[in-house]
């Protein structure tokens, strides 16, 4: 399922809100959490990460994975945390509205 515009950023921020992760961990986590319903293209994910790093929502540093592979770890910054809070509220509200409308039955 293709993602709505702007939702990928929030999802990534949400993913990073517990612990720093590298790109593959992020995409796997999203897939697992959504029981495979959210599949993100790798190119789009990496672009999103670059974009958010530029906006200082996340910060990156090279680290080493469990399997001994070098990987770029992303971490939420304080401003990223604030952004996540605001955007997720907005999105939840938005989807709630959508759900309400779509679920409406003929009176």
């Amino acid at each position: 399922m293709a993602l709505l515009k702007g939702t990928l950023d929030v999802l990534v921020l949400k993913t990073l809100s517990w612990t720093p992760m590298h790109a593959f961990e992020i995409t796997t986590w999203l897939e697992d959490q959504s029981s495979g319903r959210l599949v993100v293209e790798d190119a789009a994910l990496l672009q999103a990460l670059h974009r958010m790093e530029e906006r200082k929502l996340i910060a990156a540093e090279w680290g080493v994975t469990k399997n001994g592979r070098r990987a770029r770890y992303y971490r939420l910054t304080p401003s990223g945390r604030g952004h996540l809070r605001a955007e997720s509220d907005r999105l939840v509200d938005h989807f709630d509205a959508l759900t309400t409308v779509l679920a409406a039955k003929k009176a």
Partner: protein, 912 residues
């Protein structure tokens, strides 16, 4: 696991190397590879074949691998650039905040430094504005580099020096114009006063010009048209006039329909054909109207030896200045053959070209300005030295703070940048305050006109003058550049010094810190010596100018300018016949006498100390004419009988001219003492007969010398030459300079004098009213200008140097409080302690003086041509300024010395 995470700002603080494009791309590739590898590993772990896993991974990428790489490279580079820029801005803002806090914490230091810099930068900017306008800035005409001033060259004959700035005659000009090939346009111009009589009678300045005058300068009328190219081809061309915008607005309300109307100029009717560009006042500098040169008097156009106008030309782009000059010399030969100078013993004339740019200001003004610019540069340098001194003092106080910063990991470069930011901020604040000083300075300089330029402006074009001096963008950019350079240079040196020592050394307060203080202190002493030396050079320069000026003012000029009012009156052409002029003179003088309080009233022609007006040949009736080189010249003046009593010029022999010496009667004249000595050595000149080549005094058997009057100077710096005075009544002229002496305040006499003249001659223009003292002051204006500015600069330099000595001695006393305490405890008396400190200050000043005297002897040589009756190594000047400087040094070190002598030994010994 993750090794460590660092905020980007921290990484910058530790000066981790900035990443190159290659590094950024490698990062992207690594991350991409890592992601793909992780996925393959993951898929293989779930039982997929490696080949399928790879294919699946590439599919999950979402696009072609190469495209994805390229896209990611771009987004990563954009990210790095963006973040780096933001970090720079952040760091700069942080530095600025820090610097501002640092300055605000020490208001006394900041105020002194800002003020010092403001004085230095402000004065330099003001003088720079003058130099820029008068010397540097290109002339405001199209391709000004191509414009040349063409002149004739007269030969040196006998002891009589020639000139290479001789003006042109019309026949010589047409010979040149019709044969020359080097210039795309040539045009004569000559500034003259004219009288307008259509409407209000008004005297205006204008120019007789060639038809291509405006074209040569690259200008064209803003309304109407220019002269036809051929308008000046022949004598008696079209009677047309172009007027300036100021005249157009004043007399015609800027009405465009004025084109085609008639303007009566000197009783001739001209058709207005165009309006000159706004602000254009001709090369003579004051013109408001332009007439074709062919409209001038016929005899001025036909006589080859009547030289009266200048020529401006535009060099063809293909012709070099050297080629143009060669062409002028070739023409000069031809001209000399066509129009030989029978007077000058057939000695050949020549022709010459200089860039118009070189004719913009008189050499003496240029030299004075450059000297002033040099002097003000010295003031700036001293100001900088003082600020550097203050910075050094601060830096040594801040060694611990700096050491701490370096210990927690700030690199040396980072700390240096912090310190330099602070000094740049200081300099920029100083620069901003300096603009106020510069603005006041430029206003004052622009008011210096017209005395100076009027005095020395003969060979120059008048369009470049002091009035044009403004605080313009160039000057603002100059001030900003100077402030920035000072901030960087004078912040960098102390910063480098302060950050040089190793962290551990500086942190160990006590033993090691003393070497640091001592080091900084020796640097400050050196700066004080430099400062004193610079101040001495300036004092020498100003001392010489002031002495030269005093000598100039003490000169006996031979006349008394006080209580005399002067003004000019022109009898308009056709206003009065030549025969009725003497009657008019009598009427005028009588009416002026009737003004209450007026003791003397007279007519003259050329005021003394104005550089003389005209000269002519003297011949003796009945004697063979000597050859040209030995023929005597005389200055010619016109005077009414009371002229000499008005100016208090004494009669030495014979009699004065009187009202009895009338028009048509036997011609008489007066001669000055210098002339009497030169023409008739050891003889009584009274009763001798001479012919004077002007004023109708060369006819028949000439005129009789009836008396000898005292010499009055024409130039302040040279004694009078031969001068004769012709009675107005016997040689009537339409141009009159009126002299009125009164016991009353002559400046307030103006309106009454104007009314008196109006009673006698209602339609004659009266202008140029000045007290004689003001006219005479014009002769020393240039010297007074240089002397007062140099004096001001020297005074500033002296105070700054005094502050510098004070600062260093105060620091020295503070550093030696303990030692002084011990001395006092051991019984040294307080006077001795004072002498110790003062002695050290004087020692520094003496060293500076020795260096300075050497420098001054070299530097003031450039002033030689500006000094009157004084050599640049004048001993009296040097003794005086050394005494002044010594006194200043003693005062500046006595204040801290007094503090030292009051040191309480008990307190002092407890310090540290």
């Amino acid at each position: 696991m993750i090794r460590f995470l660092l905020r980007p700002g921290v990484r910058r603080l530790f000066r981790l190397p900035l990443r190159t494009t290659t590094a950024i791309r490698d990062d992207v590739d690594d991350e991409l590879a890592s992601l793909l590898a992780s996925r393959i590993e993951h898929l293989v772990a779930r039982g997929m074949s490696p080949a399928d896993a790879r294919a699946e991974s590439l599919r999950r990428l979402g696009a072609n691998l190469d495209d994805v790489r390229l896209q990611l490279h771009q987004s990563a580079e954009h990210r790095e650039r963006h973040m780096r820029f933001h970090e720079h801005v952040e760091t700069l803002a942080q530095d600025l905040r820090y610097a501002a806090r640092g300055l605000a914490r020490r208001p006394a230091f900041t105020a002194v430094a800002v003020l010092t810099l403001a004085i230095g930068i402000g004065a330099t900017t003001a003088i720079f504005s003058a130099v820029n306008v008068l010397i540097l800035r290109p002339l405001p005409y199209a391709s000004p580099g191509e414009l040349m001033k063409l002149s004739l060259v007269t030969p040196t004959v006998g002891g009589r020096p020639g000139t290479d700035q001789m003006s042109w005659s019309y026949p010589k000009y047409t010979l040149f114009r019709d044969s020359q090939q080097s210039f795309s346009d040539v045009a004569p111009f000559d500034g003259e006063p004219f009288v307008l009589t259509s409407g209000d009678v008004e005297r205006v300045n204008g120019e007789f010009v060639g038809a291509t005058y405006l074209r040569t300068l690259g200008l064209r009328p803003i309304v109407g048209r220019d002269f036809d190219r051929a308008a000046d081809a022949h004598v008696g061309g079209p009677m047309e006039v172009i007027i300036g915008t100021s005249l157009w607005e004043r007399r015609f309300n800027a009405d465009p329909s004025v084109i085609g109307r008639i303007l009566v100029v000197d009783r001739q009717s001209y058709t207005i054909i165009g309006i000159a560009p706004r602000g254009f006042k001709g090369l003579s500098g004051h013109a408001e109207l332009w007439l074709p040169i062919t409209a001038s008097l016929a005899e001025q156009l036909t006589q080859a030896q009547s030289h009266w106008f200048n020529v401006v030309a535009r060099r063809k782009p293909s012709v070099s200045a050297t080629q143009a000059e060669a062409a002028m010399i070739t023409f000069g030969k031809r001209m000399s053959e066509t129009y030989p100078d029978n007077f000058a013993g057939k000695a050949a004339w020549s022709a010459h070209s200089i860039p118009l740019d070189e004719a913009r200001v008189a050499p003496v003004v240029k030299r004075s300005l450059l000297i002033l610019f040099g002097a003000v540069g010295f003031v700036l340098l001293i100001a900088c030295v003082n600020v550097a001194n203050l910075q050094l003092g601060r830096a040594s106080n801040r060694r611990r703070e700096i050491a701490v910063r370096m210990a927690i990991g700030a690199g040396r470069a980072r700390v240096v940048r912090l310190l330099v930011t602070e000094s740049v901020l200081l300099a920029l604040i100083g620069g901003a305050v300096a603009l106020v000083i510069a603005w006041i300075g430029t206003r004052a300089l622009s008011a210096v006109n017209p005395q100076i330029t009027a005095r020395v402006g003969r060979a120059t074009i008048g369009s470049v003058d002091f009035a044009a001096i403004r605080l313009d963008w160039t000057a603002l950019a100059f001030a900003f550049g100077v402030a920035l350079a000072i901030g960087v240079l004078f912040g960098l040196a102390p910063a480098l010094q302060a950050t040089r020592s190793t962290v551990s050394n500086a942190l160990k307060e006590g033993a090691d810190s003393k070497t640091g203080v001592a080091h900084a202190f020796s640097g400050r002493r050196f700066l004080v010596v430099v400062e004193v030396a610079l101040a001495l050079v300036l004092l020498a320069g100003s001392g010489l100018m002031i002495r030269s000026l005093t000598k100039m003012l003490a000169i006996d000029t031979g006349f008394d300018p006080s209580h005399v009012l002067t003004l000019r009156l022109t009898v308009p052409e056709g206003g009065l016949g030549r025969d009725s002029l003497p009657g008019f003179y009598t009427q005028l003088v009588d009416r002026l006498h009737a003004i209450p309080g007026v003791t003397n009233a007279s007519l003259g022609f050329c005021p003394p100390l104005s550089g003389g007006c005209n000269k002519t040949l003297v011949t003796f009736p009945g004697q063979p004419e000597p050859d040209f080189a030995h023929r005597p010249l005389t200055g010619v003046f016109w005077a009414s009988p009371e002229y000499f009593s008005t100016l208090r010029i004494p009669l030495k022999r014979g009699r004065m001219i009187t009202d009895a010496d009338r028009f048509g009667g036997p011609k008489v004249l007066l001669i000055n003492e210098a002339g009497a000595r030169a023409l008739w050595p050891n003889e009584n000149p009274v009763g001798k007969r001479v012919k004077i080549g002007q004023g109708g005094f060369s006819d028949g058997d000439g005129a009789e010398v009836v008396g000898v009057v005292g010499d009055s100077r024409q130039f302040v710096d040279s004694a009078a030459g031969t001068e004769v005075y012709l009675p107005y009544a016997q040689s009537p002229r339409s141009g009159i300079l009126i002299f009125v002496r009164s016991m009353r305040d002559v400046a307030s006499l103006g309106p009454e004098v104007r009314r008196a003249i109006h009673d006698v001659a209602p339609s004659f223009p009266v202008y140029d009213m000045q007290t004689m003292s003001a006219r005479a002051a014009g002769a020393t204006a240039q010297a007074r200008f240089s002397a007062s500015l140099l004096g001001l600069f020297a005074l500033t330099a002296l105070s700054l140097a005094g502050v510098g000595i004070y600062g260093v001695m105060a620091l020295a006393v503070a550093a030696r409080t303990r030692e002084i305490g011990i001395r006092i405890a051991l019984g040294a008396d307080r006077g001795r302690v004072q002498r110790l400190v003062v002695g050290e200050g004087v020692a520094l000043a003496s060293l500076g003086t020795i260096v300075g005297v050497g420098g001054a002897l070299g530097a003031t040589r450039v002033m030689r041509s500006l000094l009157f009756d004084l050599t640049p190594s004048d001993p009296i000047t040097y003794v005086t300024i050394v005494a002044v400087l010594g006194a200043a040094a003693i005062v500046a070190s006595w204040i801290p010395a007094r503090r030292a002598s009051r040191v309480d030994p008990v307190v002092a010994l407890r310090i540290e």
